[in-house]
């Protein structure tokens, strides 16, 4: 059952939210030992919430559009009184005294949070292998990674532990795991979903977004979490989208662009595998057949995205993660002086990838290096905004692969960080520009693993990404390749 079907049944009183929950909890119980999607399952709290939904239905109150739909929360979303770890030892034992805005909104919409899902520590990674709680495995092939950093949420949705999940996307951390696990994942325009209560990795890039098994479910969830929030100063005022309303509009007359630099051809970045490119081309042809006008556009700075990202994101992270110093919460390793205690706590609390990025970022911001590194990365961001603006003069949306390959095997890329970082080459540009992007499953690769196709749109084109994805989804499930 899709999330919308469950909600409809619960709202109509045909199914109880508690029954729905128990069914999903049983699946988690059954299989999460193998997948490790969840850091914590909050069964009791979830039952209380489900009972609340059932009571609302019984009382004739509106239980909300997602009534009784089980929900997985990436474990970097603050949940009041429930451990929130970012899959890091440094937050051991910490329970936030407040809920993230998305959590509040989803609960108000009737969704039932069942637990907190695994991620790469502080969302730094593309495979969910950098977790203090061990890796999450891909439900479609447990020898493979689910992608990352929202791998736990992606796995939860793909394994049908929960029909809906919440992730965060700083350089592709929703879209890439969605592609790897064969589900829908969407990163909204920066500022459309409140970041209040999302534990920051790179504040100017982080966005929260939905995971679901269908475009319609993802759109319904997006509609609930999107919209202004006075608690987030970067939240966009006056934009309250209704993506669910546009899903059936099709793509007739829509101008669709293919980015030369991410097409695998002349002038493209390297490393895009043939099977993924083939599915992407088929997706473009599906859109053309549905009436879209297809053209190739050039976004020259797209090739610089990876380098710029690995300066901006670590720089912000080095500052955002400074507060984990052992003074106020989380892990404290005692030492004779405060300074030594800070160092000992951070040394013990952070994993190697987090340390690597803190060092990278600290270096990029240092006096004498700022201009050459961080300053230059900001210039690339500006160039990229200009290049995309130019591209969007001629097209309405852009279509690219979501990730260069299908899901790789555990341990395959952990030795060399660069091979891991290349995973994000197609997703990073929209984090640097703040534009929306969606990954929708479209066929499988040579290895039988799902391929994700990415649809990008200019700022506030969030609804449009769902609209195009709906067309691709209809064809994909109709059996292309």
């Amino acid at each position: 059952m899709t999330a919308l079907e469950i909600a409809a049944a619960v709202r109509a009183g045909e199914r109880s939210a508690v029954d729905v929950l128990n069914e999903h909890l049983a699946r988690i119980d059954d299989r999460d030992g193998e997948l490790n999607a969840f850091n914590v399952v909050t069964a009791d709290a979830a039952r209380a919430e489900a009972e609340g939904v059932d009571a609302a239905v019984a009382a004739g109150d509106d239980p909300g559009p997602l009534a009784g739909v089980p929900l997985a929360l990436k474990d970097n979303m603050c949940t009041r009184g429930i451990p929130t770890t970012c899959s890091s030892k440094i937050l051991e034992g910490w329970q936030p005294p407040y809920d993230a805005t998305v959590v509040t909104r989803l609960r108000a919409a009737g969704a039932v949070a069942v637990g907190k899902t695994n991620l790469d520590e502080f969302a730094m990674g593309s495979s969910t292998e950098n977790s203090a709680f061990g890796p999450t495995r891909n439900p479609l092939d447990i020898s493979r990674v689910p992608g990352g950093s929202s791998g736990g949420t992606a796995a939860s949705v793909a394994a049908n532990f929960t029909p809906l999940g919440i992730g965060s996307d700083t350089g592709g951390s929703i879209r890439q795991p969605a592609a790897f696990c064969g589900v829908v994942g969407m990163k909204p325009t920066y500022g459309v979903v409140s970041r209040y209560g999302l534990i920051a990795f790179a504040s100017s890039l982080d966005q929260i977004g939905p995971f679901a098994n269908s475009v319609a479910d993802a759109a319904a969830m997006f509609d609930v979490i999107a919209g202004p929030d006075p608690l987030d100063s970067t939240s966009i005022r006056d934009y309250s989208p209704d993506a669910s309303a546009v899903l059936d509009r099709g793509v007739d007359g829509l101008r669709v662009g293919v980015i030369r630099e991410l097409s695998g051809g002349e002038g493209s970045v390297d490393g895009l595998s043939a099977d993924v490119l083939a599915r992407t081309n088929e997706a473009v042809e599906v859109l053309r057949a549905a009436g879209a006008i297809v053209s190739e556009v050039s976004v020259p700075s797209a090739t610089l995205g990876l380098s710029a990202y690995y300066l901006v994101a670590p720089a912000e992270a080095s500052s955002n993660l400074a507060r984990y110093d052992g003074v106020r919460y989380g892990l404290r390793v005692d030492a004779p002086t405060t300074g030594e205690m800070n160092t000992a706590s951070r040394t013990a609390g952070f994993g190697p990838e987090v340390k690597r990025r803190i060092m990278l970022g600290t270096y990029a911001l240092s006096a004498g290096y700022y201009d050459a590194f961080y300053g230059k990365a900001l210039k690339v961001r500006t160039m990229m905004l200009r290049d995309f603006a130019q591209a969007y003069e001629n097209v309405d949306v852009l279509v690219t692969p979501t990730a260069p390959t299908t899901a790789f095997r555990l341990g395959e890329r952990t030795a060399d960080p660069m091979t891991m970082y290349v995973n994000d080459v197609c997703t990073i540009p929209s984090n640097l520009t703040g534009h929306p992007g969606i990954s929708v499953p479209f066929g499988v690769g040579d290895d039988g693993m799902p391929v994700g196709v990415q649809v990008l749109a200019p700022a506030l084109g969030d609804e449009l990404t769902f609209q195009v994805a709906a067309v691709l989804e209809a064809t994909a499930s109709g059996g292309v390749s």
Binding site: N76, Y196, S319
Partner: protein, 491 residues
């Protein structure tokens, strides 16, 4: 580092002219003021001094994971208001992060402004017309407060540290002067003048003792006539205007000693030791911080419209310099006395009294001498003016007027009623004359010295007779009338 051999600064240290031959003082001042807002800079917690530790805190000002700042618009408005009062350009500005680890800073970075401050390029004109340039006045958050317990009371040798985050996130403006100040008196006058502006604009209560105004001094010296800027030291922990003078004096002498005997001083932060009367080394050059400033991604730029700035200008009260000029023009009184009245906020009393016809010089003198009290809130411009008028009409003697003013300070009200309550009535001239005649008869020697002596004698004896009459009338006689009678009778 060479030890400074000069004696510690004492209260008696002569400070003007300050420095040994051939040296000139160069001072820049960095003043932090807490803005007078109800809530903190980025959250809804109370901006309140003196609460129980860690009671005015929330996820945001504790820097808890996932929390975000929301800019306090009142704080921004006050900062811009101060900027305009200092004659600054009010710019599009952005917040920045200043990164360093310290346990009383919850996020381990301070949200402040760096290369795009809200206010830039202003000035402060001191009482004597000297102008000190203002480089910038930027918005930032305050840190918490730590107390290091045991050991030497410093962070690295304490047994443990206690941290109070009530102050964390309190809105501050840091006003950075250009290194224009050349004398200690000007340094002190600058701080007093800035304080006057802060009070007049309602931007801050500017209390140095409570830490809502904190002054750091960048001190260096150079040979007279040179325009170089030599190594400076930043002096912190200065808790009063008087200490500022002592700290600068000590530090300048330390620099001169070093330049003369040992070479350049180290560029460093130093702490003023009030009891020892000296500065001591703080952080050394080796651990000079690299703050890795970058734009705060969680906040959006502040973009004041020209309408907003015009509205600030339109609502700007008269500032101390303009008030001094106005009172000087109206009264022709002593500039220092006028300065005192403006500082106390009593210049409006003077202006109203003078406008109603009172003698300017006399009004200013009366206020300077007789209203030197902390709380004069009961005295209104109307009641003070009425009192002065009663005095000049001869209804009250100077002594009586002083007593009525005392009553006014204490309980306020109508001076005529207060005078009546004390039984003060204008003394009948006949009554006064018979008193004078009686005195002349009782003191023939004194009278002859008055009526026939030289100027010195005459002056002394006038004092004698006036004193006797005041004694006899318990101060109710009008001094002017007495003088007139004495003159008449000796003619």
């Amino acid at each position: 580092m060479t030890d400074f051999v000069a004696p510690a600064s004492t209260d008696d240290t002569p400070i003007e002219p300050t420095l040994p031959g051939g040296w000139e003082l160069v001072v820049g001042l960095e003043v932090h003021v807490e803005l007078d807002t109800a809530t903190k800079l980025f959250c809804g917690c109370a901006n309140q001094f003196g609460s129980e530790p860690n009671t005015n805190v929330c996820p945001t000002c504790l820097g808890l994971p996932g929390s975000l700042p929301v800019m306090n618009e009142t704080a921004v408005a006050l900062a811009m208001r101060l900027g305009r009062a200092l004659g600054c350009d009010v710019n599009r500005s952005v917040m920045a992060r200043k990164n360093y680890f310290y346990l009383d800073m919850p996020k381990d970075f301070q949200t402040t402004q760096y290369d795009q401050p809200t206010n830039s390029d202003g000035k402060i004109e001191l009482g004597d017309g000297f102008v000190v340039g203002i480089e910038r006045a930027h918005i930032e958050e305050d840190t918490g407060k730590s107390t290091h317990v045991g050991g030497g009371g410093r962070i690295n040798d304490a047994e443990y540290s206690l941290v109070d985050y009530n102050r964390a996130g309190v809105p501050l403006v840091e006003i950075v002067s250009r290194p224009d100040v050349r004398t200690i008196e000007h340094a002190k006058a600058y701080v007093e003048e800035l304080r006057g502006i802060l009070l007049a604009t309602g931007v801050s209560d500017a209390r140095m003792e409570e830490g809502s105004m904190r002054v750091d001094a960048n001190v260096s010296v150079r040979p007279h006539g040179s325009d170089e800027l030599r190594t400076r030291c930043e002096i912190k922990n200065i808790n009063s205007v008087r200490s500022l003078g002592r700290a600068i004096d000590y530090e300048a002498r330390r620099h001169i000693d070093l330049w003369t005997n040992a070479g350049a001083p180290d560029q460093e932060t130093r702490h003023w030791d009030e009891e020892g009367g000296r500065t001591t080394s703080g952080r050394s050059k080796e651990d000079a911080d690299d703050y890795r400033y970058f734009q705060e991604p969680d906040l959006v730029p502040l973009e004041p419209s020209s309408e907003e700035i015009a509205a600030i200008d339109a609502s700007m009260p008269m500032l101390p310099a303009a008030r001094r000029a106005a009172l000087l023009a109206a009264s022709d009184a002593d500039a220092d006395a006028i300065g005192i009245l403006v500082e106390r906020g009593q210049d409006e009393l003077a202006m109203v009294a003078i406008d109603s016809g009172a003698d300017g010089d006399k009004v200013v003198t009366r206020l300077v001498n007789d209203l030197a009290v902390d709380d004069w809130s009961n005295v209104t411009a109307e009641s003070f003016t009425a009192l002065i008028q009663m005095e000049s009409a001869g209804d009250l003697s100077a002594t009586q007027a002083k007593q009525v003013l005392g009553d006014l300070i204490e309980k306020g009200g109508d001076p005529a009623a207060l005078a009546a309550a004390r039984g003060f009535e204008a003394m009948d001239t006949g009554e006064l004359e018979s008193l004078v005649d009686q005195l002349i008869a009782d003191h023939p020697d004194e009278w002859s010295r008055f009526s026939r002596g030289d100027d010195g004698d005459r002056k002394k004896m006038q004092g004698f007779f006036t004193g006797q009459i005041m004694k006899a009338t318990q101060g109710q006689a009008d001094g002017k009338a007495v003088a007139q009678l004495l003159a008449q009778k000796s003619a």
